[in-house]
Assembly symmetry: D2
Homo-oligomer: 357 residues x 4
């Protein structure tokens, strides 16, 4: 249950305050060119302390590959890797040993397993997503070799929404600001909104939009592994995610069928659809149009405010965490959304190979 993917498959391990976080990528084909700088760059996009609007907890996350890469290329053998935990102030967490933080996984882990590594969330910590970013970076390198690109950006923070479609944006500008919204004016307002939440010792949620371009026709395995179903599965497995929609999504349910249908047209580049309410996926299979989707993130649960709760012995109590917190997880979640999308696309790119002899 700590594995993701059918043939391009990540198995992840690690707790936030154990020795390290890592994983094994099995099923990566031979011949993918490994660009270590690119992989590190992806990790840097996820790391805490990267800007004034993320947590000031400093983690210098460097991946150490243990296997599967030889002379700069994947070998078709499993790729083991680890990111060592360094900033392990476990003592900071001793006061949380016997108390369940509201809307965290403390209570459910304790009840499910009978015990838990309470330090910093243990296995339930979002620090685990480092493993996904590493695997996703390798998936991106694979996809790059076949012309598929993946982008994600912050689309909404609280009520501050980007009022443009992704076609109106220059996606190369995503990393041009610290909030990772490719529209400078909106980005500024988002940053202000996050800073406000930080000042209030509170948090704010929002939406990330993902866009996949260059997808050939034919990716997706009906009936249960439709491309969008696997994308949704991937996104909903990211910490703090509460919803997923693709193409026209929830709003599209308000249209009539005659408005919503994407009629086919003949173009110089072959058969295309006039509109793309389908979000590049029909019957669970990519149709060659851009894939786009939205991912909803709740405001994360770690607040620097006094809150009511209960302890292990079922007594009511108060907690009042001190220290650093992350007022908005969205900027750092952008590379995680991209990574998970890359894992799904790489998996389905390979699966399509076995649709024919």
């Amino acid at each position: 249950m700590n594995s993701f993917g059918q043939v391009f498959r990540l198995t992840s391990f690690g707790e936030s305050h154990g020795r390290g976080i890592g994983g094994v990528i099995d099923g990566c084909p031979a011949g993918v060119e490994i660009d270590l700088e690119f992989i590190q760059h992806e990790l840097d996009r996820r790391k805490p302390g990267q800007s004034k609007i993320t947590t000031q907890r400093m983690e210098s996350d460097q991946v150490e590959f243990l296997s599967g890469i030889f002379e700069g290329k994947t070998q078709g053998t499993p790729i083991g890797f680890v990111i060592w935990n360094k900033d392990q102030h476990s003592n900071d967490y001793s006061n949380l040993k016997d108390v369940f933080r509201p809307s965290h996984a403390d209570y459910t882990y304790q009840k499910k397993y009978g015990s838990r590594d309470h330090r910093g969330g243990g296995r339930s910590s979002a620090r685990e997503t480092i493993a996904r970013v590493v695997a996703g970076a390798i998936a991106k390198l694979l996809l790059r070799q076949v012309g598929i690109s993946i982008h994600a950006f912050v689309y909404r923070v609280g009520e501050v929404e980007l009022k443009k479609s992704y076609q109106e944006l220059d996606l190369s500008l995503i990393d041009s600001n610290i909030v990772r919204c490719p529209d400078a004016e909106t980005a500024e307002r988002m940053i202000a909104r996050i800073e406000e939440a930080g000042r209030n010792h509170d948090t704010v949620g929002g939406v990330i939009q993902g866009v996949v371009t260059g997808v050939p026709v034919g990716l997706g395995e009906p009936v249960f592994n439709k491309l969008h179903a696997d994308l949704g599965h991937a996104m909903l497995g990211i910490n703090a995610v509460k919803g997923f929609e693709y193409g026209s999504g929830f709003d599209g349910t308000r249209l009539s069928g005659s408005e919503h249908n994407d009629v086919f047209v003949k173009t110089e580049s072959g058969i295309r659809t006039k509109t793309n309410h389908s979000g590049g996926i029909q019957g669970g299979i990519s149709n060659g149009e851009d894939i786009y989707f939205n991912v909803a993130f709740k405001p994360i649960a770690t607040l620097l405010k006094e809150q009511q709760t209960v302890d292990k012995d079922e007594n009511e109590t108060l907690i009042n965490p001190k220290g650093r917190h992350d007022p908005c997880v969205l900027p750092r979640a952008v590379p995680i959304v991209e990574a998970m999308a890359a894992l799904v696309l790489a998996d389905h790119y390979l699966l399509r190979k076995i649709n024919h002899l």
Copy 2:
């Protein structure tokens, strides 16, 4: 890729105009009491022609069990079953052999596999969901034995929305009207909206809400098989679904963390949360509160209107389907949503057994 579930596992087969639709349920434990009337009742809730607001195509869908049940109980052996196709007017579809219907799977199947059974959508037809309803009915019987109940109802049709929370509703009234909305007044308006779409030879989409009660603490397998991630995967695999959200969902992203957190309280029935923005799932694991979620359905693509498209030889053409159509898929999708939720819950109920020696 036609299998769903980790240990309680449905493998489905069948095309809309082949011999039949069926499946195998593997991993169902021994000792589940089989109530054949209940299973047939679930199928009847899904079948076409059941009311004036669904397609008038008549299918009398009866399941034939082929194995796995003996003297009224499951045996721990695989349960094979088939629902024969009867209303096979394959000739009705010969005009669709060489043309791609907009927003259907005709084009993507043809490109992916190099050929397709064009009759009535073939494998991509929603008729395949019969297999899920059968398996879901058995999952429901299993869950009933351990006190878990699953309900779904139509929450919105186009713009006609049920303005009540599920707690304010009497869920035993879901089947009291043909649209499957447990609020009589809203149901009437929904029916009118669907009839309007039907008169226009058009279709209308909407939202189904699902509610699971009686869930023990501890269901869900982090990090990739979080309970809500598997629920989302299940729902997004249903034909016409464009989005999934659970608990506070997309709207919850507009709250601040201090508003959104569900504080723990001590009650007579043990530890509970004061609010339930978490939708009964924290860290991917059930916390004992009700699970609730929304599923977005697009207006389905089959219209009785002239539409532009292309044919197999990439020539532009027009289609203008005649006959019967389903103006709104939502009433018949209710049992499918319930079935898929039941499959997920049964799977995780069993998986939890191996968290301990």
Copy 3:
């Protein structure tokens, strides 16, 4: 647990005296040409009553395909099928309801599941292998299109052994006699041995040898899905099988390394090995040489003799079965061994496609 294969995957269902035996083949690529006569021929090779040395119980096993085949070809969609049970003399078995037959699965099924379909062995009956023969026949058709052939033959019955290597035999003669040994003289002695067992109301075991030719280099997925490990897994899953060896097998363990090593030589047809103790597999991967292996079958447990046993209430008792029995399962097991080998080869043929981008 009733599924076999990673990507070319059979899920089987059915009990010997239920409605039927069947299965679903998922992951079969589109474009495999279906030869129904060939498939029926394979079933006929397995069916009881085919000759004087097999059980005289008559089963006319005809497969009915329910999906996945259209206009004579596979469609990439799941292939559902069923073989109806006809000769269901369930009453014959009522005397076995409460007693455990020695060396059958009666006792273990009862204890594992708490109940069992006692009629004719239920799920544990070798009748279930019909589903494997159907799926194996389709795998064989797939393999035929890529030049891979699979043969099996009876190598030893009791002490009557074929004293020739497979290279000395004409494998086209396997079906030229009722025992399926391609050496006429040995076949005669084997038939006599089986008839002797039959006269004694007893059974006799032996060994089947399998040979796979035309295998390209590169099939097999180390480290846990080595080609021979998957072959062994497949064979050991057949009823009554007690052992598996490939290449030099158990005997090869008596050689020294310098005798056993297969040195490489350059030939007109590329790199080959001088000897083939490796049985065509090195490091778990096919090397282009013939694959050959042996499968040990115990004398089956159904005897027409009085035997001591216990009943459900743990009282000692005697059983003394009457009627027809199968003195030697080997002739009918030949197509089953071939079918399982075909499933493994087809699976690995497809898996190899994803070793590279």
Copy 4:
């Protein structure tokens, strides 16, 4: 394809001369008490250089656990671990870069993946089995808590065979000599036989026998995951294994059914069988009797002798390896056989939990 097990699942990674060998154990239940000394002891039983009859290459293999264990117990979360490679004399292998060693995996890996880490066999090296010994040790600790014990010992070296059944032996004496045969007199002759092979710069094969005691009735998942089929799969995945048999095995095929059947008897400890030709497994399910099986190991391919071969450019050439070699792999393979058996038993012990509600 580098994962083993259905629910208790090892994913292994690493090449012999990369950074290290490691793995992830997923699905280990919470609450298994971790005895680090025991785990290290198991590694020491496998390590090279442990006695005069194994390779003198020295590896001090110490496992570093990275996750999943907290306060001395498993947490239900994945257990990541690594064993660092230290004795990496990669240069020793540069002469093997372009040549294919006979009966090694050099040729097949090169052809399958298009490249390979040639150093010391890379991924195909038996050094990979360290990961299995670590995971197997944890499985053994789990099984110990439920009363299941696993033993393996050297049964035959070349022609030197132990002429006793396992019941006549004291299995606590397995490690009392360096060849791991619990009969002192036979052990001496085995050691002499191995020393002879070593002096000849040659190698010798043989057979390891495994015995599992304390198994409850009901382990094994028909029809494809019969307990012995999974054991066979596990054993055949070990480097150099050529065959597997359980219970009466190949020899049992020479008996008649009336000799072979294990009749049931009533004893003070419940229902038992008078004989145990079934090897503790009937219908693929454990029946409570001891499980025993044999595993055939070929003489390993690394010789210190001149041998004919071909190189990468398909030219014939000679190799003449120098240095240290392992004349007989059997003594060190004993803990590997035990480890793989433990993985299978732990997996099935957990799987049985979901046979019932």
